[in-house]
Amino acid sequence: MLFSLSRVTCYVSRKVNMAFEPKILGIFCNWCSYTGADLAGTTRIKYAPNMRIVRVMCSGRVDPQFILKAFKDGADGVLVAGCHPGDCHYIEGNYKTMGRIPILKQMLTQFGIEPERFRLEWISASEGDRVAEVVNEMTAQVRKLGPLSWKSATDTKDFK
């Protein structure tokens, strides 16, 4: 009785319109990409809030297990960001990344995880706008793909 018809309609339509918001994990290297993300922040660039960023010292530290665990534990997308080739603080750390990531991408595809959910980007410390661009782009892409919901999607419900 307290709810007018318009209020009820509003509530229902709000539930129906509750769009899926992707959860994206970002693993950023300390020297370039994380500093770039900081720059995006200090220069108050607005961009999608869907990425949770974890800092590592170098993209070469990124163990493929991190990415697998992220997807298993509910991430809808994962972004690994490192220094541009030639700029790695540890000289060759990102060379190792660029050898590992393509194989990992193929492996994820075999597991049924769409390649658009996993991305490797080179972002320098001065590219705050690039951080915003990549995050916005990837958020839109993953939103279109929908939730990954790894645990429920792979539960073949054989027994419990």
């Binding site: 193929q106 492996m107 999607a153 792979t154 073949t156």
Partner: protein, 336 residues
Amino acid sequence: MADKKLKLGVYWGASCGGCDISTLEIAEKILKVIEIADVVLWPCIADIKYDDVKKYPDGFIDVCLWNGGIRNSETREIAELLRKKSKVLVAYGACSSFGGIPSLANLYTKESIFERAYKTTESTDNPDGIYPQTTHTVAEGELHLPEFYGSVYRLKDVVDVDYSMPGCPPTGKQTWNVIEAIATGKLPPKGSVVGVGDKTVCDECPFEKKTEGVRIEKFKRPHLDRPDLTPIPELKNKPQCLLEQGFVCVGSATRSGCEAQCLKANMPCRGCYGPAPDVEDQGAKVLSAIGSLIDTKGDPKRGEEIAAQIVDPVGTFYRFGVANSVLRRAKAPSPL
């Protein structure tokens, strides 16, 4: 324990039978086993029935060596039965420990497997598309078949496992080590992996790696390319590591204990002893090692091209344990 014989059970789930046969690799020591043990269940060699086992008191079987993965409801039910009837249950071999080769089926769905097996294989003639059913009524009554599960599981996914022994199959030496430990009561804490070393296969390998700087620009295949077996003086007179030569060898992420038998036959390791100690996901770790060796020369495109030479990363890096990986199975359906 000298006057009482050990009651030994051996059972197979989703198995090729190789683990049962491999127990003979202990050679003449099999006579010792017969001295100290009585076989109370071993479908491969003896006609003891499920009904006989159901009548055993709980804990009757002193040691049960279970090989094979869990693929259907019968295997699961027998696993639960044998857990009740056994004091010590050992997951013997890669399939019970990690899922094994059968768990490569976790890249497919029950539907796609049935379609391939019963309809589309080239030699199948099944115009009416008949699939096996779990129940079927005939004049004489109802017939039952086990239910085929959607995924392959490890033994520990369905029952509590006391010890696990990796290997496809475990080597004769390790099998004897474990039997001896059981017979003398010198077993490590429950839950341990037994019949293994505590390093990686590299530790037992007859090849030797050079120092930093080696990179791979072309991956070699054992059936197409020959390894270079020249002993190199700087490498303790051993030939160069196969992985450095470009052969995909997963030994660097694989547990030791097998004495690198395959390497001693000049074949790269395929990972049947499962993840190295403290490694959760064997495939990811070996991907990391192999990926870091790619000769990208700082060019991501070059990295992609060389990486593309590995056409089946899951099959290559998780050959013996898709069910043991972080992701466990493909999201149905897998495109490859």
